[in-house]
Symmetry: C2
Subunit: 203 residues, 2 copies
């Protein structure tokens, strides 16, 4: 798997969930399908009067989630920025051409209330709960960074194997120290809770 394949999968899903944070610090999430995909960028349309637009302009952080028909979760985290004023019309028209339903929602000239944002630098997380062991991986586009999540076993490990017995996915390998196979880890915290010598720490 790679970032480009994830973007194509998101494109096939079509309707994605876009999460932002409002001015009170509360989570907000909406379905958006007015999206244009480039190889390593995504452009999307909204209207300038919507809370969604205000949240993007004031903070910009956005997380985009799609669930494929193969039961894969693909999550893109990045910053959205409006495309430059002189290219807004081009991008609005592009997105309306690709998604004819939009002209029913915003007929004629009313699409001018629209604004197109682009996400260029992002982390993409791929997560498949339908295989055993589960599988996850992270990728980047543009200047995006991968944030390490989950847990790791430190040198304090005494090799007792308690973590192995309690791991739902059987993804901990013996060794000095024992090691979590990160690509198969649920991040459930069971090893962290059960380690008798607190040798497991959050990454």
């Amino acid at each position: 798997m790679d970032a480009a394949t994830c973007l194509r999968k998101l494109q096939y899903v079509g309707v994605l969930s876009f999460a932002t944070v409002d001015e009170t610090g509360a989570p907000q999430v909406r379905n958006i399908s007015a999206i244009h995909y480039e190889k390593d960028e995504i452009y999307f349309f909204t209207a300038r009067g919507k809370d969604f637009c205000r949240e993007l302009l004031s903070d910009g952080r956005v997380q985009v989630l799609g669930y494929t028909k193969y039961k894969e979760m693909i999550r893109l985290s990045g910053k959205a920025a409006p495309v430059p004023e002189e290219r807004q019309k081009k991008w609005i028209d592009n997105i309306f051409r690709e998604q004819p339903y939009l002209a029913n929602v915003y007929p004629g000239d009313t699409r001018k209330i629209g604004i197109v944002f682009v996400i260029r630098d992002a982390q993409i997380e791929y997560f498949n709960l339908g295989v055993r062991p589960i599988f996850r991986e992270s990728y980047t586009i543009g200047e995006g960074n991968v944030t390490l999540k989950g847990y790791q076993i430190t040198e304090d490990c005494i090799g007792c194997g308690t973590c192995v017995q309690n791991c739902p996915q059987g993804c901990i390998e013996p060794g000095q120290p024992f090691a979590i196979q990160q690509e198969h880890c649920l991040h459930c915290g069971s090893c962290f809770e059960h380690c008798p010598v607190s040798a497991v720490q959050r990454r």
Copy 2:
């Protein structure tokens, strides 16, 4: 439409998007299907070691989004709280019984790393972009409140009709003042931007 119907529709969708805010104030959104529905409550399972759990325990605000096969968006906003300790086992077992795939992810006793949250007081927003004019409505469950969004036309209206000409949905009615049919409003802000006397304000 009503709150109970919206909850049933979410149940049919199955896999929902749960949005929270992390400790840096960034939006987070995941797919969750380990959900049990009551008439006016939703229970859901996660694992204690996940960032999702930490975000719920430290803030609790959550927004849950589902997109139906009839192209309806249903969004529930509320606070999630863990069910009392003495009832955790009952609820975990209930959810695992209803969703057998969970026992593949957390086999045997490993489900004990789980925690069940409940949402009781919430606002539900129904939004259908597939009809013309579009249709939206809000409902509550428990002690939830409806947050007014979008725009309204004030007494400063001079009746010029500029807003009507620029409304994508044709949902503004003449009168003194002119009035927005809120159930058909996109919240796009076109009337707000075009009003020559600034008679339109955010609600």
